[in-house]
Amino acid sequence: MGREVAESCIDGVIIEMVSAYCNRFYGSKPELAARRIEAIGYQVGHQLIERYTMERPRFSDHLEAIKFICKDFWSELFKKHIDNLKTNHRGTFVLQDNKFRWLTRVSIDPSSENLEASQDSPVLTPEHKVEVTSMHLYFPCGIIRGALSNLGIPCAVSADISNLPACKLHLDFGDNKNFPPRMLPE
């Protein structure tokens, strides 16, 4: 058996990492912070996929590898499968997780607005909150990109959080190999 770590510790480390990069290291340059966080995720995914694919035969095509990400890889990371997988058969896949584990504690509910305003904490506009939340998605995006690129499938990954805690991940393989190597903030 492998060694185990409390889940709350992992959550804490990830939240602290994101906040350290966004506020302390690159406070004035959110794009740079996003790229750094994504790069960390890339390395993590790159290493994890090597371990999780150890005992299984090689994938014969891209779809098989993506199914592996949706089922086995996802349940190793989040103890659940991806809820929905869609594709346009032209190199774009959409993975939907209806209860994304790393976003279950995030709230951008407007009803809590008054409560926060009354306290000392700075008031955040809804747009700003979305921005802060999206910072937390660069890490999982990086993990997926690292995992797939180690399997020999380079892709671009972006996330969509229009209704929390559901999360949609867009994987873009692009039939040409010239898509940008790094995800850029929109």
Binding site: Q47, R51, R56, P57, R58
Partner: protein, 143 residues
């Protein structure tokens, strides 16, 4: 007895290469390893010839030479493991378990946050583990 093991990256870049002979034949062994990479490519591109199970990580014996046998293993991440042995009678199961241990050691080595992907593995712990696996392989087949 295993005389040489190698780990080769997905672009056929050497990641780890180690021979276990006292004699000065490292160059010859490296040459054998180099040649066997073509056989790996051939096996992967023409899967029909590689036996009943498709896409298995274990590739079986790649080719026999006069004194050596070369076995191969290809992971999902296109990393190749190669092993050269002088044993004439080798059990397939032994080689499989050897490669499984080899792969586990490799995974632990690349999970080191200070390891740069695509660069040579310089970890001493990895080297020790590999020579341990190589030694135990010899003792199992002899016994």
């Amino acid at each position: 007895m295993i005389v040489c093991v190698a780990v080769v990256g997905h672009q056929n870049n050497p990641l780890y290469l180690q021979s276990f002979t006292a004699a000065d034949d490292a160059l010859k062994l490296h040459h054998i390893i180099h040649c066997s990479l073509d056989v790996v490519d051939e096996r992967v591109n023409n899967p029909k010839k590689s036996g009943p199970t498709l896409n298995e990580t274990f590739l079986g014996m790649l080719y026999p030479t006069e004194n050596y046998k070369v076995y191969g293993y290809l992971t999902n991440t296109k990393v190749k493991f190669l092993m050269v042995t002088t044993d004439l009678e080798v059990k397939d199961a032994d080689v499989r378990s050897f490669f499984r241990k080899f792969h586990a050691a490799f995974v632990d080595a690349v999970s080191n946050p200070f390891h740069v992907p695509g660069k040579k593995i310089t970890s001493k712990i990895f080297a020790e583990r590999i020579s341990g696996i190589v030694k135990s392989f010899g003792s199992v087949t002899a016994g």
